[in-house]
Amino acid sequence: MIEQLSIVVVEKDRDRALLIVDALREAGDLRITVIGEESGLARKIAEQRPDLVLIDLRSPSRDVLEELALASGPMDRPVAMFVDRSDTGLTRAAIEAGVSAYVVDGLRPERIRPILDAAIARFHMFSRMRSELAATKAALEERKVIDRAKGLVMRAKGIGEDEAYGLLRKAAMDQGKRLVDVAQAIVTAADLLR
């Protein structure tokens, strides 16, 4: 009988943490602990005595885990980054997905593989969501700037909305610039001259 693996997931965002836990549960019979607090992180992880720690690659708290890798007392279980002891293909996949894994010394790679595969898939989804969100936000911002510029042109020239938009588009095309850049220039100039 193989002993149940203990996994710690370090994740501040509750919703994200739950999604990761769900994905991991499907990967096997695991004892999963989520730590969301940054304070006392090293101590909290050490208390759990995990076999595997999963953390967002971008988390500033990752350096704290580095300290755990140095634990050298007889009762300590050194945790090393996965990079050190596994095939680089899997590690590279993990890094591209944005997850980093720290495994306890001596854990066999085939026991980690399914868990890491599940985590990688879930983190890939997160990074897609993140870039989609960023793109939506940027589009919204651009829309706002263009609307403000349009309003400024309408007032300055006493023309209608469609005509103002047409003028902006023409200016952008003539100058080989993006519409939003022309709009931004008008907004900036108007702010300065106010």
């Binding site: 940054e38 304070s39 006392g40 090293a42 690659l57 971008r58 988390s59 500033p60 708290s61 990752r62 350096d63 704290v64 885990l65 580095e66 300290e67 890798a69 140095l70 090393a80 980054m81 990079v83 050190d84 680089t88 590690t91 590279r92 890094i95 980093s100």
Partner: protein, 384 residues
């Protein structure tokens, strides 16, 4: 044709050379486009280097040496041919510890060590990374000024230093700017001294590459080294200080008040939130003297210190350490641009009370004041 190079950095004051190289045309002059990629932790930056996501990165000077000694995580051996900065660290304590210490002159590590030793009890001190000059200076200071004091050295991400003080997770810290000043402002911390008071010429950040990358890409490496070296020269000019502070303060980079950066660059520190402001000589060196030169003796010092704490053979450790500071590549790529080029690749660390000219390849080289707080001298030839 312009060549694009990805470069990793952490938003800190001493990332200035890389940001200046990208922003002020020094890279362009060399036909390079620098794609600067910020990282949130040193572990992340190291992974980016390991897996080739960046060609080079700002790195803690201790990391390439630790890696060469088999300490800490990571997959690839690293090396450097350019030191980005000397010093720039501050050591401070929480409001509570400051109150217990009582009045204490700023910049007096010996007295501060004695006062800390007199407090008794266990002291928890935060550093950004287990393998960092902050950790090394801290160990060095406590060993010699407060022997026997019980200390827990903990890793705390610099932006969290103030929060960790307020949450009573740590009693003090050793960190680079702007995060020490941030802790003073946000958590009422008091600064005891700057890192330069422990060792006035401590290499803090280096430009690190995977071992062999510079040899395999001599053309790109040469352009990169020249661009960054010229950027350190620009960044160190007093007349550029205000511009530099404004650029670093931008949201895309450090995203903090330009005043905080301005103070760090000029070596003016607010010791506590109530003042006073003190001027710290040699607080942060980006270019002056032969600051960019990767002295083998600096690596040897780091190697000897790590070896002593980790129970590794010091002679072998110093040899492996020295090989990570590639003064030969510095000579190869920066000879033609007029970089200060000493004849020797080692120097005696410590024991130099004031700046001194030594023999250089084309012209004499000025060695700046190089002093350990206890007057010790590290001679790599004798120590080896």
């Amino acid at each position: 044709m312009t060549q694009s190079l990805a470069l990793g950095y952490i938003p800190l004051v001493d990332a200035a050379p890389l940001i200046v190289a990208a922003e002020f045309g020094f890279a362009e002059e060399e036909g390079l486009h620098l794609d600067l990629q910020p990282a949130a932790s040193w572990s992340m930056l190291r992974d980016m280097l390991d897996f080739g996501q960046v060609a080079a990165a700002q790195m803690l000077s201790v990391v390439p040496v630790a890696r060469a000694l088999g300490l800490g995580g990571g997959a690839q051996p690293l090396e450097t041919a350019l030191v980005l900065s000397l010093n720039g660290q501050v050591l401070g304590v929480s409001e509570q510890v400051a109150a217990r210490l009582g009045p204490l002159a700023f910049g007096a590590p010996q007295a501060a060590g004695q006062a800390i030793a007199a407090l008794g009890g266990r002291l928890r001190i935060g550093v950004p990374f287990p393998f960092s000059m902050q950790a090394e200076l801290l160990h060095y200071w406590l060993e010699r000024a407060a022997p026997g004091v019980c200390v827990d050295i903990r890793t705390v991400p610099p932006p969290r230093m103030a929060a960790a003080l307020l949450a009573d997770e740590i009693d003090g810290f050793c960190v680079g700017e702007p995060w020490g000043s941030h802790a003073v402002e946000m958590a009422g911390a008091r600064l005891l001294f700057a890192g330069s008071a422990i060792w006035s010429q401590a290499p803090e950040k280096v430009l690190a590459c995977r071992r062999g990358w510079m040899a395999e890409h001599p053309d790109a490496a040469g352009r990169l080294l020249r661009a960054v070296w010229r950027a350190t020269r620009w960044a160190a000019e007093a007349e550029n200080l205000t511009t530099l502070a404004e650029v670093l303060a931008q949201r895309a980079y450090l995203d903090v008040q330009p005043e905080l950066i301005d103070r760090a660059l000029a070596g003016r520190l607010l010791v506590s939130s109530a003042g006073p402001e003190v001027r710290v000589p040699q607080f942060l060196t980006l270019h002056r003297g032969a600051a960019s030169f990767p002295w083998r003796s600096q690596a040897a010092w780091i190697g000897a210190r790590l070896a002593a704490r980790s129970g590794i053979d010091p002679v072998a450790a110093m040899d492996s350490a020295r090989a990570t500071f590639r003064s030969d590549l510095f000579r190869l790529h920066l000879g033609a641009v007029g970089a200060a080029m000493p004849r020797a690749s080692d120097k005696i660390e410590g024991g130099l009370e004031q700046a001194e000219a030594v023999a250089g390849v084309a012209a004499p080289v000025i060695l700046e004041r190089n002093r350990f707080f206890d007057g010790a001298v590290f001679d790599p030839a004798v120590s080896a």
